[in-house]
Amino acid sequence: MALQCDIVVVGGGHAGCEAALAAARMGCRVILLTIDPTKIASMPCNPAVGGIGKGHLVKEIDALGGEMGVNTDKAGIQFRMLNRRKGPAVQALRVQCDKRLYGLAMQRTLMHQPRLTILAGTVDRILTHRGAVSGVQTDSGERIQAHCVVLTSGTFLKGLLHIGLTHVPGGRAGEPSAEHLSDCMKDFGFEVGRLKTGTPPRLDRDTIDFQAMEEQPGDDPPKPFSSRTRAISNPQIFCYLTHTNEHTHQIILDNLHRSPMYSGIIESIGPRYCPSIEDKVVRFADKARHHVFLEPEELDSRSFYPNGISTSLPVDVQEAMVHSIRGLERAKFLRPGYAIEYDFFPPHQLHETLETKLVAGLFHAGQINGTSGYEEAAAQGLIAGINAALKVKNDPPLIVDRSQAYIGVLIDDLITKDTREPYRMFTSRAEHRLLLRQDNAEARLIHIGYRLGLVSESTFTAFQRKQERIEQELARLHRTTLSPDRLSLEAFERFGIDPPQSHTTLAQLLRRPDLFYRPLLDCIGDHGIEDEELIHAIETRIKYEGYIRRQEQQVARFRKLEERRIPENFDYDSVKGFSSEVLEKLKKVRPSSIGQASRISGVTPAAISLLLVALDRFRRSADSPAA
């Protein structure tokens, strides 16, 4: 007899973990099917979570009740708040992780999750019944019945590893690829594309001369991702910085003909923002050196990750190149770098829920949607898992929009923009950036996680209490006036602050860019509040008030266009006047709203006006009784 469950999650990467956990926590019976359960939540590329844009995603995952933030805190061995000197919207946390701890912690969470079963296996086919998902079939012929399937198979679809001019099929170094699923998807009518990504060699710690490099310490004390994390228990470590040099570059240039990229074997498109060292040397020929960060992969292993020299050159060239770098002269390779090519499904084939338009009940999340990065994958996994569960329960779907979260920006961009290279999040992708800060991620999203049952009562109450304290303190700062009397003048001088000219409120004083909460309150002998996180939130609200208000106005306008929905059965061919390019784009993406239609590249304002009028006509004729 076939196995039965509500939802099958295919793949145990960062997307699969979030999807499986969310769906199980929402009450569904979930089977997580993965080739090798001991590799669940592994980090095949760099040993870090977060960074600018990506850190925002992790905060949002956490606010919605996802696992990545908490798990990173458990595995973190260096925490660094980036952009500390810039504004609040672009500050983001980046955490070096112990890869083994990360995987183990996540596996433990999955194992303890009620209603969630982990099975080893490779999926060969998605089973359907009348255009909707009915289950999956594994390579051993076993069938699992399910209402929904979340596909998160990462780089395993027809994965091809390249080292120099040799190439072997595989999903990650040392792991097999999934060969049949891709063809099954093509049979459903899915468009399939191909992308490329790469990774650097791994080096033996004991053969690296750290003395010759610059030390990169983390924050002290480290600040966790999740508000649910009580303390960070791992020992904290340093990373190290060194540079390539002209000799390194010469070695690469002399051997370009032996690179799969430059000899034409790899034809797929790699990311511009995360280029191989070959790419960097060719494209930025006038740059004399490039950064190389040395990051430990695990506390208890000798493996170091040299961030910045991802490569697919032959092993002998990789060695010569690495050995030309200061501090790495005698570095021993534990594993060479490689490039991987894999199939992905261009994401315009998805609804905003991440359900595919072609097969009801089939959801796609993670790298198969053409994204790069653990965080992007996890964010999609969470949304796909939530929506699969909502579908099983017959509840309305969850759609997060661009003005609410980076997750919304991510999904909307995936659907509307042509994916030419693996998609990575940047803060500049978010037009409402000043509102999408990591410090207010909970305020933006926690109520959703709470409503879905993913955020516990106690976490939610703790959040509400924090919010109350922030509001109270803000009100007090607006209320409290300060007069420039003698005593406080002296105090101001002592603290090196320009005294106020006349009666001003504390809030007005805090609007000054150079004046901060703690020094100001110390100076006037006011205790205020202690919690740094709250203080940060308060300062942000006061200092950026005008800008935040302007962004809120922009959001209101944005919403108006999002609210003009386009019916799913709308017939674009019936509208006269579209250029053939516009018509093709609209039919391909089938946008859900006028707002989304306007973001599709190539769709002109004139086309939008035609669409609006046609929609109005469509609506009126649908309202009037049929003749």
């Binding site: 600018i52 844009g53 923002y273 950036r433 200092k543 266009l561 009028v613 006509r617």
Partner: protein
């Protein structure tokens, strides 16, 4: 941000400008009635607030005297006798409260009425905004929606052509240059925020400020030239051009009713440009007589022709004079299509000598090149006898404020749009400079610069994720 909030009250001149007869100023929005009441006093002690719907009332258009604007209570000046109609929403064209003011006076009066309404708190309507509101308020039925569809289709082709012309022109190039500078600056700022970990080159505050200042200067210069009000205040720069001896100087003298320029039968009499001020039916003209255009005989004449070209370049309006007593010369044909974005009146002079050139011949040549922003007008006259001069005066008046009955109205509109967009860009960049001076972080700067970029993009037709509804009817005539 460009306007377009439904809670604004908007106003515009609803009839083509530049013609005599009645002109209508339309106000629509929640404050249409109180705003209109500030600029119109009804006769017979009627109150606009209590006026019946859809009924015409006699009143006076009152506009505060300009000179007394600084005094707290400027005594209003009675400008014109007007008819006023109030149409309360939803029973109005837009579905909102609408007031229409029918004026008798010329374009200047209409313009001043609009300005007064703006002072009262209204906002100049964006192109097509009345129609947009009608549409949004459900005032257009199915057939009208079809008509709107057609109009958009037509308007976008016109709009496209205008946009392309302007893009080829100086305005387009200058805006493109500003955009490039801002995009480069923004790229720097964004890279500094999104890629702190990598070694992107650092940009200093001083350099940011210098770039902002440079672009702001350019914006101010553009705004000066884009300003329609300049024409009202400083006069319409009108160049009289033509081949030698066609009667340019004679025309100047005839219009001035004075022997200001030397006239002779020798071709090449006028050597230098000559400027005179003149009032034609309330429109201030700065009339420039120029040296006849031909292959120059000597270096003085060369210099004269260079000055003529400069005068052409600076002119708002071209009076292209042809000698009607001779057949068209190939050089005449060149002159006809000079600077196609400028308004022009083609003058067939010396009609008293019997015409060798027919109007249809000229229009034949013009039809081949229907790329003028404003359709050229044609007048036959005799500078010697004065016959046809009145026709010319009417023509000048009608073109003075940028349009004529036949002109696609959107041209003036597109200029107003440009001005609004330029102002918006300017405000954005000024804000950016303030943010920089205050030491606010890059995200704030970036937001301001993006606002400016979006505004500039609206002119060149590159559209970002902004308010698309605003753009929907943007190729429509204003006040329609």
């Amino acid at each position: 941000m460009s306007g377009g909030h439904l809670d604004d009250t908007i106003c515009a001149i609803a009839t083509p400008m530049g013609e005599g007869g009645i002109g209508i100023v339309r106000v629509s929005g929640p404050h249409a009635i109180p705003f209109a009441a500030q600029i119109v006093a009804l006769r017979n002690r009627c109150d606009l607030h209590r006026a019946h719907n859809h009924r015409l009332y006699l009143g006076d258009l009152l506009v505060p005297k300009r000179q007394q604007q600084t005094s707290p209570n400027p005594s209003p000046e009675r400008l014109d006798e007007v008819l006023v109609a109030v149409m309360r929403g939803p029973r109005s064209y837009t579905g909102e409260d609408v007031v229409e003011i029918h004026c008798h006076g010329g374009p200047l009066i209409l313009q001043m009425a609009c300005e007064a309404l703006i002072q009262a708190g209204a906002r100049l309507a964006e192109p097509g905004e009345f129609t947009k509101r009608a549409f949004l308020n459900g005032r257009l039925d199915l057939t009208q929606a079809e008509a709107v569809l057609d109009t958009i289709r037509a308007a976008t082709t016109i709009g496209l052509r205008i946009a392309q012309d302007q893009l080829k022109g100086e305005l387009g190039q200058r805006i493109a240059r500003m955009r490039e500078e801002l995009i480069a600056l923004l790229a720097h700022l964004e890279a500094g925020m999104d890629f702190v970990e990598e070694d992107v080159s650092f940009i200093e505050d001083r350099e940011i400020d210098r770039t902002l200042e440079r672009v702001l200067d350019e914006l101010s210069r553009l705004l000066e030239t884009a300003d329609q009000g300049r024409i009202i205040r400083e006069g319409l720069v009108t160049a009289i051009i033509g081949r030698p001896n066609v009667g340019k100087s004679s025309l100047l003298n005839a219009l001035l009713q004075a022997n200001r320029a030397i006239v002779s039968h020798i071709p090449g009499t006028t050597r230098d440009t000559l400027e005179e001020c003149l009032n034609i039916n309330g429109v201030l003209l700065r009339l420039v007589d120029t040296a006849g255009l031909r292959d120059a005989a000597d270096c003085i004449e060369q210099e004269g022709i260079r000055r003529t070209n400069e005068a052409v370049h600076q002119a708002d309006l071209l009076l292209i004079v042809l000698d009607g007593s001779h057949a068209l010369h190939p050089q005449d044909l060149e002159l006809l299509s000079l600077e196609p974005e400028k308004r022009r009146i083609i003058i067939i002079n010396k009609s008293d000598l019997g015409l060798q050139i027919s109007e249809s011949e000229i229009f034949g040549h013009l039809r081949n090149q229907n790329f003028f922003s404003v359709p050229p007008q044609l007048v036959c006259l005799s500078a010697k006898t004065g016959m046809g001069l009145d026709m010319l005066r009417t023509s000048i008046q009608s073109l003075a404020l940028g349009s004529s009955l036949e002109a696609p109205h959107s041209i003036l509109v597109s200029r107003l749009r440009h001005k609004t967009a330029l102002i918006e860009a300017k405000i954005g960049l000024e804000q950016a400079r303030r943010a920089l001076a205050r030491g606010l972080s890059s995200e704030c700067l970036a937001l301001d610069i993006r606002t400016a970029l979006t505004a500039l993009g609206e002119i060149t037709g590159e559209v970002s994720t902004e308010d698309i509804l605003d753009k929907i009817f943007s190729e429509f005539c204003i006040g329609k």
